[in-house]
């Protein structure tokens, strides 16, 4: 079986959970991966305590970004806005359960970035370029 495109990933890509737009929502945010043009729009409905009641997403994305957001949106029930902002990137990588290369990191994290954007009401600021290489030693790359 393919390591990256294992069954679980393909399954979530082909039939993503929580896909579509909520009829009613309190928070939403669209974020893009400017390098490849992929977009994801996240919608969140909060309950009276300000905790996530429903969440959904829309957008065109690759298998990695779609599966990541599908998996992530399954995990958000009951979280507060502050708790959404606390979700570490590692959480997404763990849910995916596969190794993500530097090139695909932006794909894997797009949904989380949109979730945080929704929670903040503004674009989340972070660095997902992956570690820079050593240009003096490009032979060793």
């Amino acid at each position: 079986m393919d390591e990256l495109y294992r069954d679980q990933i393909l399954e979530h890509y082909k039939r993503p959970h929580n896909f579509g737009k909520l009829d009613e929502y309190d928070l939403d945010f669209e974020d893009t991966n400017p390098l490849c043009g992929d977009e994801q729009h996240v919608f969140i409905k909060l309950d009276d305590d300000g905790r996530v009641e429903k969440v959904s997403f829309e957008g065109q994305g690759c298998a990695i970004s779609t599966a990541a957001t599908s998996l992530l949106t399954d995990e958000l029930d009951g979280l507060t806005r502050d708790e959404l902002l606390q979700i570490p990137k590692e959480k997404v990588l763990e849910l995916l359960g596969i190794e993500i290369s530097a090139t695909r990191m932006k794909c894997a994290l797009l949904g989380l970035k949109a979730v945080k954007g929704a929670s903040l009401g503004a674009s989340a600021d972070w660095d997902d370029e992956g570690a820079p290489g050593d240009p003096g030693e490009s032979e060793s790359l």
């Binding site: 992929d38 065109q60 994305g61 298998a63 090139t103 695909r104």
Partner: protein
Amino acid sequence: MSTAVETQLDLEKIRASFPALSREIHGKPVAYLDSAASSQRVEASLQAVDRYERRHHSNVHRGAHTLSAEATAAYEGARATVADFIGASDRNEVVFCRNATEAINIVARSWGETNLGEGDRVALTVMEHHSNIVPWQQLAERKGVEIEWIGLSENSQLDLDALDAALDKGVKLVGVTHLSNVLGTVDPLAEISRRAHAAGALVMADGAQAAPKLPLSVTDLDVDFYAMSGHKLYGPTGIGVLWARKDLLAEMPPFIGGGSMIKKVTQEGTTFADPPARFEAGTPPISQAIGLAAALRWLQGLGMDLVNAHEREITDYALKRLAEVPGLQVFGPAPSVDRVGPVSFVIEGIHPHDVAEILDRHAVAVRSGHHCAQPLMDYLGVPATTRASFAVHTDRSEIDRLIEGLLDARRVFKL
């Protein structure tokens, strides 16, 4: 038509001139089908730069010593080579800058800023690269200029009727790519210039993709501005060319200010040098200009007619083979003389990014995404495509490996 004895390129010899082609990825030699993004360096260019940097380097134009004279001669010689390659009559019409993007920005900021105002119109085709869109949108923002979009006819060619309609509205400049980096469409520049000039409009041609693939004469095409990039011409990054008609350049105010572009600086103000110096502020990309010129001479040595024939042949072959892949849709014109270069496609059920990822495992390097042509993506109704693009060194076996990789992608995605 070439009168040389050779009627075909010696592909084996050409491939041996590109060191990067011997690179292995995942244990297989790379099939580099991403030359539209950036080409690999040809040995002749690498060596010219190396010789220059090890023996002749100094700053240009300002020194009385031997190295400075040599550097100046080499740099100005590079300018003459570029002029010759693009069929310009005067090397002083050649301005060196960083890349095609900057070349177009110079036109927008200098010519555009001076000659366009509130309500004036610029026409752009929907297949432009962002570099021939954003500078005009920025100008629109600053000056109230309006942008007219020209669409495509069936067969993914420029809609000349739409061009005429735009010209009828009083357009002052037409921004048009010579060769689309997504569709592989060759735009009929000479005809576009004829119509634009008849309507009093200038033509800003984006030659970033065309220059490595088409025999080129800015004089015959009769355009007003032409932009290109060294790193798509088997030369280095960090060098671009703006060619502009002499009379236009002479009237254009400077853009970037600093050393070398001045006549005289005082506390009270500054007078500016004649073109091309006026547009080359600061220390120029000297070794990069030399590297570009060496690559162009190498191409001229092959003969651009033969280069063009090879590029068409390989494009045709790619189109033929891609038709064998189930669920694959190609964008762009059917095979013809006006179709050369990049081939963009989507495969039903696999996102382009995943296609590229799986091809990489086969050491087939292609690009996926919007290719800096989002308005065209919108026009085509897709968020992204996968693009395979070719070069003077591309051979059929690389296309075959592309096809194998695509069939594998379908297997991975259980299609």
